[in-house]
């Protein structure tokens, strides 16, 4: 029994090494003076170069802007769609729900390619070029299904007489919706928005196909940098991103712990 405990610990440790070794390597190389694989002394130069690089900063702004806007629009569209879909009957409802899942199940690359075809086609007709707008539309596209998927179960669990009760008690339909329905659905809406935001931040494939000639987000910028073989600043960028992720995770953890403690007090 005791030996089994040690075995499981070794197993977990090995997995952790597997998960974190690559990141440790990125961090290590971000301080490496030499551009080659060998260690050439300690330096902060890559970090300075990173902050001077306007293209990376521009890509970072684009990424954040797209993520905020895409998750905002996707949340509005998806939440109202979920309410609408839940009021559909039987077969129609199944059909719409399944259709809504298409972007989730189809491979990213197929979605990217199909949207590219659409935008080039529309671009010729309406005389526009792919760029910020088309990327935003594409991101909303793959985000909405996640919102629908997260809000639907909440609607199903909600007692529909609550809305009627609110109306009976003198609420206008708008008030009843705002105070009762929205309140009940909030956790689902919130997790849908969060998933949308993170997917949008991390997206590479769909942006790659719909970005046009000038627009870059962080992923496509990194892709371009790796092709041009100027990676040391990428290491610095990775290190900083990792730092931000760790800080966010620690903050979330602290908040959760506090919430748990408060629960215990009650």
């Amino acid at each position: 029994m005791k030996s089994k405990g040690i075995l499981t610990k070794i197993y977990i440790a090995l997995i952790m090494v597997f998960m974190y070794a690559p990141i440790a390597v990125l961090i290590f190389y971000s301080f490496n003076k030499s551009r080659s694989a060998a260690w050439g002394g300690f330096t902060f130069d890559w970090y300075l170069e990173l902050f001077k690089s306007s293209s990376i900063m521009n890509a970072l702004t684009n990424t954040l802007l797209i993520a905020v806007l895409a998750s905002l629009f996707a949340t509005i569209l998806g939440s109202s769609a979920a309410i609408g879909i839940s009021n559909l009957k039987g077969k129609t409802r199944m059909l719409v729900q399944n259709a809504s899942n298409i972007p989730i199940i189809s491979p990213d690359i197929v979605m990217g390619v199909s949207l590219m075809l659409l935008f080039t086609f529309l671009g010729v007709i309406f005389n526009f070029e792919m760029g910020f707008g088309t990327v935003l539309l594409s991101h909303i596209c793959f985000c909405v299904p996640f919102v629908v998927l997260n809000v639907m179960p909440r609607i199903r669990r909600m007692d529909s007489s609550l809305y009627d009760a609110a109306l009976d008690l003198g609420c206008t339909p708008f008030q009843a919706f705002y105070k009762v329905v929205l309140h009940e659905l909030m956790p689902g809406i919130f997790s849908g928005a969060l998933i949308s935001f993170t997917y949008s931040l991390d997206d590479f494939v769909i942006t790659h196909f719909t970005q046009g000639a000038r627009f870059q987000n962080l992923s496509t910028e990194i892709y371009g940098m790796l092709r041009r073989k100027i990676p040391p600043t990428i290491n610095a960028l990775s290190t900083l991103l990792f730092l931000v992720i760790i800080i966010i995770m620690v903050l979330i953890n602290i908040r959760d712990r506090r919430a748990e403690k408060n629960k215990m007090k009650l």
Binding site: M19, V25, S100, L118, I222
Partner: protein
């Protein structure tokens, strides 16, 4: 609240941004440059059968490896105290928050000749190049997608009623039998969704093989990417075949899952 009308904007949205683009792939695949019906794109697409098969093979190996690694891991985690469980899962998820390309690039750095792994193994007398081969591509895939296997299995296992396990023990099952007769059958839905979540993206991914693979490690995603900017008819034909293949795979997995649930 009772209004069906709220779904109308989304229905229009789906029509314009999901259905029509997919139909456009179909139309592009079955036409030539002059716009008339043609199967030429498919004839050209068949030249890439080997790449297609290789992609499926790499995806299959990656999926199996993910399952082999993630299944015991999920089981071990469910045996821990709840607070430890949360910490371990969080630690496993943190690398997933790194950018997809950076995670792949990290493996390029780690495996390159003269890199950390080479230096480490050279110290004990083993020399070699660990990048630019199929093995490296698979390692990269497993690194990218392993958590997608872990999470559904872990979730399903965590939901297993402890009473069932105790009942089996009371009825004289030893640990092995409890696992075989209770835990494993109940975790099958998690395995199935894990397999889907790893296989689909790894079969269709691009970039991973570009960075970690050798010259003959080209995956179907890379071909689609490359070809689309020169001849979008062939690109559309390959995309269509890939999409149909994935759909068939999903339907099969679904059928299999349903049967398991009944049995």
């Amino acid at each position: 609240m009772k209004s069906k009308l709220l779904s109308v904007p989304y229905l229009i949205w789906m029509l314009v941004f999901t259905m029509i683009p997919l139909v456009m792939i179909g139309i592009t695949a079955f036409t030539d440059n002059s716009g008339s019906f043609s199967l030429e794109a498919f004839t050209s697409a068949f030249e890439y059968t080997n790449v297609f098969l290789k992609s499926l093979w790499i995806a299959l190996l990656s999926t199996v490896l993910c399952l082999i690694i993630a299944y015991p891991l999920a089981y071990i985690i469910t045996q821990m105290r709840e607070s430890t469980q949360n910490t371990v899962v969080m630690l496993l998820m943190i690398p997933m928050w790194m950018n997809f390309l950076l995670r792949i690039y990290a493996w390029v750095l780690l495996l390159q000749s003269g890199g950390p792994l080479d230096t480490l193994l050279s110290a004990i007398g083993i020399h070699g190049n660990y990048s630019n081969n199929t093995g490296a591509v698979i390692v990269g895939m497993v690194y990218e997608y392993m958590p997608f296997m872990l999470l559904p299995i872990y979730t399903v296992m965590g939901k297993i009623d402890k009473g069932l396990i105790e009942a089996a023990q009371d009825l004289g099952s030893n640990k092995m039998m409890v696992f075989r007769k209770v835990v494993f059958p109940l975790s099958i839905p998690g395995i199935i969704s894990g397999i889907t979540m790893v296989f689909v993206p790894s079969a269709s991914t691009f970039v991973v093989a570009q960075y970690l693979g050798g010259t003959d490690d080209i995956m179907i995603g890379d071909i689609i990417d490359k070809i689309f900017f020169t001849n979008n008819h062939i690109g559309a034909a390959i995309s269509l075949v890939l999409m149909i293949f994935i759909l068939v795979f999903l339907v099969l997995m679904n059928l299999f899952g349903d049967e398991e649930a009944i049995a």
